[in-house]
C-alpha cells in the first residue's frame, strides 16, 4: 500500500474536523474576522448626538469638523471614516468619507443604527413612551414545528434536518468527485502505459473497466468508513475545545450584550447553549437514522457507479489528462449544479423542482440527501432508487461501449462525433 494513501486516510478526518472547528470558531466570534472601526460623526443636525449604539466592531465619536479638518483626521490610521450629516431642506444627507471602500455589512450596520435613532425619535415625537418602545422592540416569535405523518404528529427540528441533509449531500458530491476522478486517472494510466494491451488480451474491456470502478469503490468505502469512525471519535474533543476557545458560555454572551448596551439580566438567564443542544438531540431522535444511513450508502454507491462509469469513459477516450477538459464539462456540470441548487432545495424540500431533481440520476444522489431528513414519501424514494439503478446500468453500458474502442485508440483526440460512432460500432 502506498504511504501517501495511508497518510491521507488518517489525516483527512483530522483536517475535516479542524476545518469545521475553524468555521464554528469564527461564526461564534464574528468580530475576529473584522477590524475595529472608529467612525467620527460630524452631525450638523444634532439629532444623532450620542445616540448611535456602538457594536462589537463599530464605535462612534462625535466631533464637529469642517471638510478640511475631517480629511486631516482621516490620516489618523485609527479612524475608519468620517460620517457627515447635514440637513438640506427637509431631507437629511448622509455622507461617509473613508480611506477604503466600506464593506456592505459595515454600511448596513451604520445605516440601521441611523434608522433606529430616527424611528425612536419619531415615536417619541408622537408621544410613545420609552418603556412601551422597549416592549415593542422585545417582541419575538418562535414557531415550533410538528409534522403530520401516518403515525400521528411528530416533533421536528428544521435546523437539524437542514444540517443533516446538507452534510449528506455534500459528502456524496465530494466522494463522487474524488473517486470518479481517481477512476479516470487510473484508466488514463493504463492506457498511456500500454499495460492495457497485455491486460485486454486476458480479460474483456468491460471486465477491466468494471474492475477499475468496483476496485476504487472498495478503496473508497474502506477510506470512508475509517473517516467516519475517526471523525466521530475526534469531533467530541475538538468541539469541546472549540467551545472553550470561543468562550461560548452564558457569561460571554452576557458580556457582549452588555457592550451593546442591551439589558443583560433577561438574556443571561436564558440557558442558550443547553437549550440549543437539547433541541439538536431531540431533533436527531426524530430522524430515522438507520434508514438515512442505508439510503446514504445506496445513493453513494449508485451515484458513484453512475458518474464513475462516465469518468471511465472519458479516461478511455483521451491520451492524457490535459485532453480530458472538454469531456469533463458535461459530467461535472450536473454535479456542481445539484450541489449549488441544493441550498434552495433545503428551503423548499417538497417543491416540484426538488421532486424532479431527486428522480433524475444526474442529480438525485445529492438532492435526495438534502430532501430525505425532511421526510420523503416512500413511493418517491422507490421511484428515485429505480431511476438510479436504471441510470447507472445505462451509463455503465454507455461507458463500456466507448471504453472498448477508446482504450485501444491512440493518437488523435476524439470528438463527440467520434464517441457517438464508437457507441454503435461493432467490436
Amino acid at each position: 500500500m502506498k504511504k501517501s494513501f495511508l497518510i491521507m486516510t488518517l489525516v483527512s478526518p483530522l483536517l475535516i474536523v479542524l476545518f469545521y472547528g475553524i468555521i464554528f470558531y469564527f461564526s461564534f466570534n464574528k468580530d475576529l474576522g473584522e477590524d475595529k472601526k472608529l467612525v467620527l460623526v460630524n452631525d450638523a443636525t444634532g439629532i444623532f448626538q450620542n445616540q448611535l449604539e456602538a457594536e462589537n466592531n463599530i464605535s462612534f465619536q462625535y466631533k464637529n469638523l469642517n471638510e478640511e479638518a475631517s480629511l486631516e483626521m482621516l490620516k489618523n490610521a485609527e479612524i475608519f471614516g468620517v460620517l457627515n450629516i447635514k440637513k438640506e431642506g427637509e431631507q437629511i444627507q448622509y455622507n461617509l468619507i473613508a480611506n477604503e471602500q466600506p464593506g456592505l455589512s459595515t454600511l448596513n450596520g451604520i445605516e440601521s443604527k441611523l434608522e433606529k435613532v430616527l424611528k425612536a425619535k419619531k415615536m417619541q415625537d408622537k408621544g410613545i413612551d420609552a418603556s412601551l418602545l422597549k416592549e415593542i422592540n422585545d417582541i419575538s416569535v418562535q414557531i415550533s414545528t410538528q409534522k403530520s405523518t401516518d403515525k400521528g404528529l411528530e416533533k421536528s427540528n428544521s435546523g437539524v434536518t437542514t444540517i443533516i441533509g446538507f452534510v449528506g449531500a455534500f459528502l456524496i458530491y465530494f466522494f463522487i468527485f474524488l473517486y470518479g476522478v481517481q477512476v479516470m486517472k487510473g484508466v488514463i494510466e493504463e492506457k498511456t502505459n500500454r499495460i492495457v494491451e497485455v491486460i485486454i488480451s486476458s480479460v474483456k474491456p468491460f471486465q477491466l473497466m468494471m474492475g477499475k470502478i468496483v476496485g476504487i469503490a472498495m478503496v473508497g468505502f474502506t477510506q470512508f468508513t475509517i473517516w467516519v469512525v475517526l471523525v466521530a471519535a475526534l469531533s467530541g474533543p475538538v468541539s469541546s475545545l472549540v467551545m472553550k476557545m470561543a468562550h461560548v458560555d452564558p457569561s460571554s454572551i452576557a458580556q457582549t450584550t452588555q457592550m451593546s448596551g442591551m439589558p443583560t439580566d433577561e438574556l443571561a438567564k436564558t440557558p442558550v447553549k443547553s437549550n440549543a443542544s437539547m433541541a439538536i438531540l431531540s431533533g436527531l431522535n426524530q430522524l430515522n437514522i438507520p434508514m438515512l444511513l442505508g439510503l446514504f450508502v445506496f445513493y453513494f454507491i449508485g451515484g458513484y457507479l453512475f458518474y464513475g462509469a462516465l469518468f471511465a469513459a472519458v479516461g478511455s477516450a483521451v491520451d492524457n489528462e490535459t485532453d480530458t477538459q472538454q469531456f469533463m464539462m458535461p459530467i461535472t456540470l450536473p454535479l456542481i449544479f445539484s450541489i449549488a441548487i441544493s441550498q434552495s432545495i433545503i428551503n423548499t424540500p417538497n417543491s416540484d423542482l426538488a421532486i424532479w431533481l431527486s428522480m433524475i440520476p444526474f442529480s438525485s444522489p445529492v438532492i435526495m440527501m438534502v430532501r430525505l431528513p425532511f421526510g420523503v414519501p416512500t413511493s418517491e424514494i422507490i421511484a428515485s432508487m429505480a431511476c438510479m439503478v436504471l441510470g447507472f446500468i445505462g451509463t455503465v453500458w454507455l461507458a463500456g461501449r466507448i471504453y472498448r474502442i477508446g482504450i485501444l485508440t491512440f493518437g488523435k483526440k476524439p470528438s463527440y462525433k467520434d464517441l457517438a460512432k464508437w457507441l454503435f460500432r461493432k467490436s
Binding site: T192, V196, S202
Partner: protein, 305 residues
Amino acid sequence: MIIQIENLYKSYQTHVALKDINLNIQKGSIFGLLGPNGAGKTSLIRILTHITEADSGQILFNGEKLSPNHIYQMGYLPEERGLYKKMTVKDQLLYFAELKGLSNSRAKEKLKYWVDKFDIKSWLDKKVEELSKGMQQKIQFIATVVHEPKLIILDEPFSGFDPINAQILVDEILILKEQGASIIFSTHRMDSVELLCDHIALINKSEKILDGAVNEIRQQFKKNHFEIKYEGTPLINDHNINIVSHKENELVQTDIITSKQFQSNNELIKQLMQYPISLNAFTEKLPTMEEIFIQAVNQKQQSHA
C-alpha cells in the same frame, strides 16, 4: 501446428489491415513476422491475442478453433511497453501471472524461478519507476513468459534493448524454444531476426507476399553471387565469370562475382584456380532478408501490373 490461419480478413473504418492471410506456424519453431511499419503485423497479432476480432477467416490454435481460453497459453509482449509505474515489481509480476490463470502459490513459485535466473531479488520490492529502462524491459519479459505460455508473441522485442540485454533476451528465447514453446517475432528490422528464425512470413500492405523456411527462401532468392578474397592481379570479366563489384586494399582483393555457366560451387572454384591468383576465401553470398523483401515486393508489383 500451433497456429493455422486461413483466409483472414480485417479492415478498419478507413483502410484494409489484413487481406486474405494464410499462415501456418509450426510447434516449437521461431516464426518471424516481417514487414515494414503499418503492414498489418500488429493487427494480426491483436487478432491472435483476442484484443480485436477478424472480419472473416479462421484461426486454429493447436488444432482447435481459437477461443478466449487460449489466451492463458499465450504470452504477449506488446511493441509499446508498459508496466504500472507505482507498483512494486513483485506485486506486478504476481498480478500478471494470476491474470494469466496461475494460482497464487504457483505464481510465487514461477516468480522465484525467474528471480533466481535473472538475479533480481533486490528489485522485488522496488517500484517500477525506480528501475532503469533495461531492468524494466527484463521485468516485462518475465511478465510475458511467467505463466509458461505455449505460444510467445513478441512485437518488436529488441527495440530499446542494449546489445547485452538483447543477447540475454536471445538466449532466453532459445531456451524457451528448447523447452517446447513456439515463438512469433514481429519486427520491421528484418536483419535482426533472420539468424534466429526458422520460418518467416513477409507482409506488405496488408498482404502476405512470401513465407517459408528461412533457408529455403534464401536459396530461392539467391542470385549465385559469390564473394572471393584473393591476392594477385585483379580479375576481369571473361567467358567464365562476371565481376559484380571489386574492392581492394594493400594486399587483398575482394570481388563479388557470378558464374556464366554455373554448375556447382566446386566447379566454380576449379575455374577460379586457373587464374593467376592465390585464393584466400570463397563464400556463397546469400541475399539478406531485406534484399529478399525488396525483391519480393517488386515481383509482386510486376505481377499485379
